[in-house]
């Protein structure tokens, strides 16, 4: 753990001055989840710093998605806590989103019968306040808020490379566009940390490359990213730091070089020790 801290070099953080280590945004400590007798997560500690891209890898069933679900309140941890910017998070999905954690899903979960723009507008939910009366009265404030929300949503769509089309529903988008729309929707929450669950699953190399660039652009906007992925090339060329999970335990943590050399990681993936 300590060695990781000292080895970590925030090369990409141009905005941060001097030797100050970047601020920790998200810190999960001792997260434990049990499904009946199965220990899905075993006291996992995890942290994300400002401007970082963290990869979360591990064999199938290692607990990666459970870990995401746990961070975002879809699964209640049996033990442990999550802090965001030092504040203890109430682990309910909408509270987590309000606090500044947004996510995508492994099996895309868009709102299939809404337009792409509407999908992103739902992402703006936390950043708009208009209530029933305001919506009924349609005063100046409402119209302005609605207009600015639409502007922002269109910008996020544009950012991921989609165009708003009023006659199209999200489910008729291509697979890659659906993935990107999901990211735009999550970005619309203006999160501090974005959690991506297998963003390149089912993509061809060209789309994967585009996704890689997109994630880097997201980081350049000042959003820290945690990404679960099985595509190791993607992970190793993208992430500043990699965390390896296996059977619910944190197996290893470090830069891509360190992780690849770690005998425990190799054993977890290949089932035998190479030594």
């Amino acid at each position: 753990m300590k060695s990781v801290d000292s080895d970590f070099s925030p090369s990409s953080l141009s905005g941060l001055a001097g030797n100050f280590p970047p601020r920790v945004l998200l810190r999960a400590s001792g997260l434990t989840v049990r499904f009946g007798g199965l220990l899905a997560l075993d006291a996992v500690d995890f942290e994300v710093r400002e401007g970082e891209i963290v990869g979360l890898i591990g064999p199938n069933g290692a607990g990666k998605t459970t870990f995401f679900n746990c961070l975002t309140g879809l699964v209640m941890p049996d033990e442990g806590e999550v802090r965001y910017k030092g504040q203890l998070l109430v682990l309910r999905p909408y509270k987590v989103a309000e606090a500044g954690l947004a996510r995508t899903f492994q099996n895309i979960r868009l709102f299939p019968n809404m337009t792409p723009l509407e999908n992103v507008l739902v992402g703006r939910h936390c950043h708009t306040k208009e209530g029933v009366w305001s919506a009924l009265w349609r005063g100046k404030r409402f119209r302005e808020a609605e207009a600015s929300a639409r502007m922002a949503a269109a910008e996020f769509l544009d950012f991921v490379g989609l165009v708003p089309d009023e006659d199209l529903s999200a489910h008729s988008l291509s697979y890659g566009d659906q993935r990107r729309l999901e990211i735009a929707r999550a970005l619309a929450c203006e999160p501090g940390v974005l959690l991506l669950d297998e963003p390149t699953a089912g993509m061809n190399p060209r789309e994967t490359q585009a996704m890689l660039e997109l994630v880097q652009q997201i980081r350049d906007r000042g959003v820290a990213v945690v990404v679960i992925e099985h595509d190791m090339r993607f992970i190793f060329s993208l992430c500043d730091r990699i965390v390896v999970l296996d059977s619910g335990c944190k197996l290893s943590e470090g830069t891509s070089v360190e992780v690849r050399k770690d005998p425990r990681v190799i054993e977890a993936y290949l089932g035998i020790s190479p030594e």
């Binding site: 868009l110 919506a135 089912g202």
Partner: protein
């Protein structure tokens, strides 16, 4: 529901094809014969329209024994025949439309054939005109169907592709003119249909209209009109509104249809509330009529009825507010503990609540007078805009020299109620709140991960829907002048839900049309009083099978009912991740 196993459904469909292929091979026609038969069929139908259908006079409506003029149901053959004749020139694209129109002709002929032989005690009562009509429509059906078969064999389904092509519209001026002509034409049709008295004529008319619209719809006509209406929405709404306001002046002081339309209006208003709950938020409420009932009872108790237990009279506008508030509060009370549950549980809990409400009203003699209900609810009185004497809804009025029956007052009130509900629905629907509702409907987990508090918004939707029903209920109590528990049975909830679903979920015209169908048709189909419910049940099954998105669907949501959700296929596209590490493990920095 679980996705259909594709291979299994494939098997059954192949099995079906074999069976129908046998028929096709027998009935297949070559190109020339199709036209010969088609033209012969059209001529037969044309002749039939002017020939006697009943062999002796026994009171079958429409002077069906006379030849030389298309009286009674016969006249409805003509528009369809015209359509069919035009469709000949559009073949093969119009084959589907032709089949539908020919089916309409067949239904008209068949229905009248059966009805005449039924009422005339035997097939002897049927004259040659009806036989020819049957024969002609069958020939037409055959001719058009053989076109369809050929297309299906040649795998070039040209008629079906009309749905997705871009719609071309004329200039805005022409658009407005079309709307300006189309809306009144539609209303004239409507008023004309109301005036059709005999059930034989009415059923034939419905067959004619239904088959005609089905045929036009396969040509993409309704995509075009919905696009047109979407562009010219404001204009069309204003026209409709004017027409609705003018309607009472055309009734010669007769209140019958006004009364029917009032109940349509009241239920359409309630249906809009239910549309928020079911259509926008996707919550299944099977006890919705209870909230309507709460409003009605509140209104009945607070208006000093003849048979009441509470002797106060509260101004109506206040009653409206109280009714809506009480219903909304009860909605919160019922919803708060149950909205966390899964959809089906909510359905049964709301159903249970509906029954509890009805039984409570039945037993609470001290307040609600039990099964007798509260009768003699007085007419509404609201402060007049023009004078010091309040406006009493029980009075007939003279406006612009035309005498309006007292029901006209309630009719106008209902229009205002409906407009209010429609504004509420569309404004909330097109806002942050509406989007949150829809997001919950589409995917609750994803919605909550975007910061939408699902319980809070579901509760808001449920309570709002409840209070809208309550508001409609307060008006309804004054219209019917009495309330009793048996007006708020489970069947009424189902009727409202069916109105919403059949009309088209999540749309205002759908709610209006659905309520119209369910509260107007029974009036027109009195001859079928006994089998009414049977027909209703069968209609539900058939609609859900063949047009689950409703009569006027939300343009985009249509797909939900038609296509498999893409989400299901997502799982299969996933690559196997583990192997990647093994292949790429050799150190190869930044390889991409």
């Amino acid at each position: 529901m679980t996705p259909v196993p594709p291979s299994a459904s494939h098997l059954t469909s192949r099995h079906k094809t074999n069976w129908s292929e046998m028929w096709r091979s027998v009935l297949r026609l070559s190109g020339r014969w199709r036209f010969v038969l088609g033209i012969a069929g059209a001529l037969f139908v044309w002749t039939a329209a002017f020939s006697p259908w009943a062999s002796f006079a026994f009171g079958y409506p429409g002077k069906m024994t006379l030849s030389g003029f298309p009286g009674g149901a016969r006249v409805y053959l003509l528009p369809l025949l015209l359509l069919v004749s035009l469709l000949f020139f559009t073949l093969p694209v119009g084959a589907t439309a032709g089949v539908r129109a020919a089916l309409g002709l067949l239904f008209i002929a068949g229905y009248n054939f059966i009805a005449i032989s039924w009422e005339g005690d035997g097939v002897d009562a049927v004259a040659w005109g009806a036989w020819i009509a049957l024969l002609g429509s069958l020939l037409l059906l055959w001719a058009f169907a053989s076109f369809l078969w050929e297309e299906a064999d040649g795998r070039s389904l040209s008629g079906q592709t009309a749905g997705h092509t871009a719609v071309k519209l004329p200039d805005p001026i022409w658009q407005m003119l079309l709307v300006f002509g189309g809306v009144p034409a539609l209303l004239i049709c409507f008023v004309y249909a109301l005036d059709v008295e005999e059930s034989s004529r009415f059923v034939s008319l419905i067959c004619c209209l239904g088959a005609g619209s089905a045929a036009l719809s396969s040509l993409g006509f309704f995509n075009w009109t919905s696009e047109l209406l979407a562009r010219q929405r404001t204009f069309a709404v204003i026209l409709l509104l004017i027409a609705a306001l003018v309607f009472p002046f055309t009734q010669d002081g007769n209140g019958y249809w006004l009364r029917v339309l009032i109940s349509v209006g009241v239920f359409a208003s309630a249906a809009i509330g239910l549309n928020i709950v079911v259509g926008l938020t996707g919550l299944l409420d099977l006890g919705y009529i209870a909230f309507f009932g709460i409003g009605a009872y509140v209104s009945a108790l607070l208006s000093d009825a003849d048979f009441t237990t509470v002797h106060v009279r509260v101004p109506f506008l206040l009653v409206l507010l109280i009714g809506a508030t009480v219903a909304g509060l009860v909605g919160i009370f019922v919803g708060a503990p149950t909205l966390r549950l899964r959809g089906d549980y909510l359905a049964i809990v709301t159903l249970g609540f509906g029954e509890i409400f009805r039984i409570t009203m039945n037993n609470w003699n001290g307040l609600t007078r039990g099964p007798n209900g509260i009768a003699g609810i007085s007419d509404l009185e609201i402060p007049s805009l023009f004078g010091s004497t309040p406006l009493n809804f029980g009075d007939a009025h003279e406006v612009f020299g035309v005498s309006l029956p007292n029901f006209a007052n309630y009719y106008f009130l209902c229009i205002f109620l409906f407009i209010g509900m429609a504004i509420l629905f569309s404004r909330l629907g097109n806002s942050r709140i509406g989007r949150a509702w829809m997001a919950i409907r589409e995917d609750e987990i994803a919605a909550s991960s975007m910061g939408v508090n699902p319980v809070r918004f579901k509760l808001l939707s449920f309570a709002l829907g409840a209070s809208m029903a309550g508001a409609a209920g307060t008006v309804s109590a004054h219209v019917t002048q009495q309330v009793s528990p048996d007006s708020f049975t489970f069947m009424e909830s189902i009727l409202l839900l069916a109105a919403v679903v059949l009309g088209g979920m999540g749309t205002i015209p759908g709610a209006l049309l659905g309520a119209g169908v369910f509260y107007l048709l029974p009036e027109k189909l009195r001859a079928f009083q006994d089998v009414r419910m049977l027909m209703f049940g069968a209609a539900l099954i058939i609609m859900m099978r063949y047009r689950p998105e409703g009569l006027i669907p939300n343009r985009r949501r249509k797909a939900e009912f038609r296509e498999e959700k893409s989400r299901f296929s997502a799982g299969f596209l996933k690559g196997t991740g583990e192997l990647d590490l093994m292949q790429q493990n050799p150190v190869q920095e930044g390889g991409t």
